[in-house]
Symmetry: C6
Subunit: 76 residues, 6 copies
Amino acid sequence: MLPNQMVKSLIGKVIRVEMKGEESDLVGRLEGVDDYMNLHLSNAMEYKNGEKVRNLGTIVLRGNNIIIIQPYEEHV
Amino acid sequence: MLPNQMVKSLIGKVIRVEMKGEESDLVGRLEGVDDYMNLHLSNAMEYKNGEKVRNLGTIVLRGNNIIIIQPYEEHV
Amino acid sequence: MLPNQMVKSLIGKVIRVEMKGEESDLVGRLEGVDDYMNLHLSNAMEYKNGEKVRNLGTIVLRGNNIIIIQPYEEHV
Amino acid sequence: MLPNQMVKSLIGKVIRVEMKGEESDLVGRLEGVDDYMNLHLSNAMEYKNGEKVRNLGTIVLRGNNIIIIQPYEEHV
Amino acid sequence: MLPNQMVKSLIGKVIRVEMKGEESDLVGRLEGVDDYMNLHLSNAMEYKNGEKVRNLGTIVLRGNNIIIIQPYEEHV
Amino acid sequence: MLPNQMVKSLIGKVIRVEMKGEESDLVGRLEGVDDYMNLHLSNAMEYKNGEKVRNLGTIVLRGNNIIIIQPYEEHV
């Protein structure tokens, strides 16, 4: 499956995202994604070393600064 | 909702932006956004650890160096 | 052979990927790749100094943050 | 106003630019800008913590490494 | 000569490549290059401070993370 | 003058280039430039704190990792 199809298949599900130059991960429900892999998440939370740091609510993440996208359930 | 639509829906509202390689956040009123997520903010302020550092006034932020865009009210 | 053809020839095989700003490598089975070199890996694992750190399962890696892609067998 | 229009409206004026991975700011007269936000400045000077470090004269700044563009008068 | 033509003229020859955020250089035979300067190298080796660190074999390097490309013979 | 026109006007002349994440500057004769600001330099030399570190000869610099381009004579 192509990477973009894989990400689109996660819409409506909770994903984990690692951003470039960030120490913490972002976990949230994927609401939308475009061809640049810009992401729209709801109920987003910041995690550091596996612990929840804070609630971010609705966020938009810029695609070109994403390192890894992962379905959240898989790595628990 | 697509990420770009989400950001466009915030025009006229106050947003918080994390930029790559910056320790401080930027908070300001979103005046305009284009397809690259370049942002035009007015009344922009720099925040560090939740405290206001300085007024920046009108600024333009380069889209590809944005990490997170967030409606400002949500995370207060 | 063009770089993209080289990467496409690795679909179905295990590859090693170095990402920008990451200390650890990612090793996994290449499921799909697009023209931006975004990668879809299955059974991905994180390696640090040659030792396995953790299982990541299914991941998507953003192409523009990739440094090196390599067939995994070659450098063992 | 769109970000690019905002920047184009500053042609002929003095602007301040923060570049990625640079500790100092650049201040100069905006001579030209293109759709990638590449900038052509004249009489450019390097500033560090509000103090002038050196004259750079004519410079070209690569758009994708820009963090912030700002009219210089605004934040004095 | 245009930069891309210059790089294409090096196909079949040994080149040295500096990547962003890497301390070591990569040296290998250029097998292919595309318009994004993605590179396909064979017999690639990692060098640090002029000393060979390890063999990498066949690798693909992502063009947008390249800093410098250089014919290898030139700087010996 | 547009940024790209400015750079093209420097073909045949010696320029100074600051690259992202590099401590040293590159100085060389501009042989060619394309629309991405990829640069082809001849007789390139590496400078650190104003002192020549080493000769690099012919090099190609990737445009998106350029911070500043400057005619060399101007800042001497």
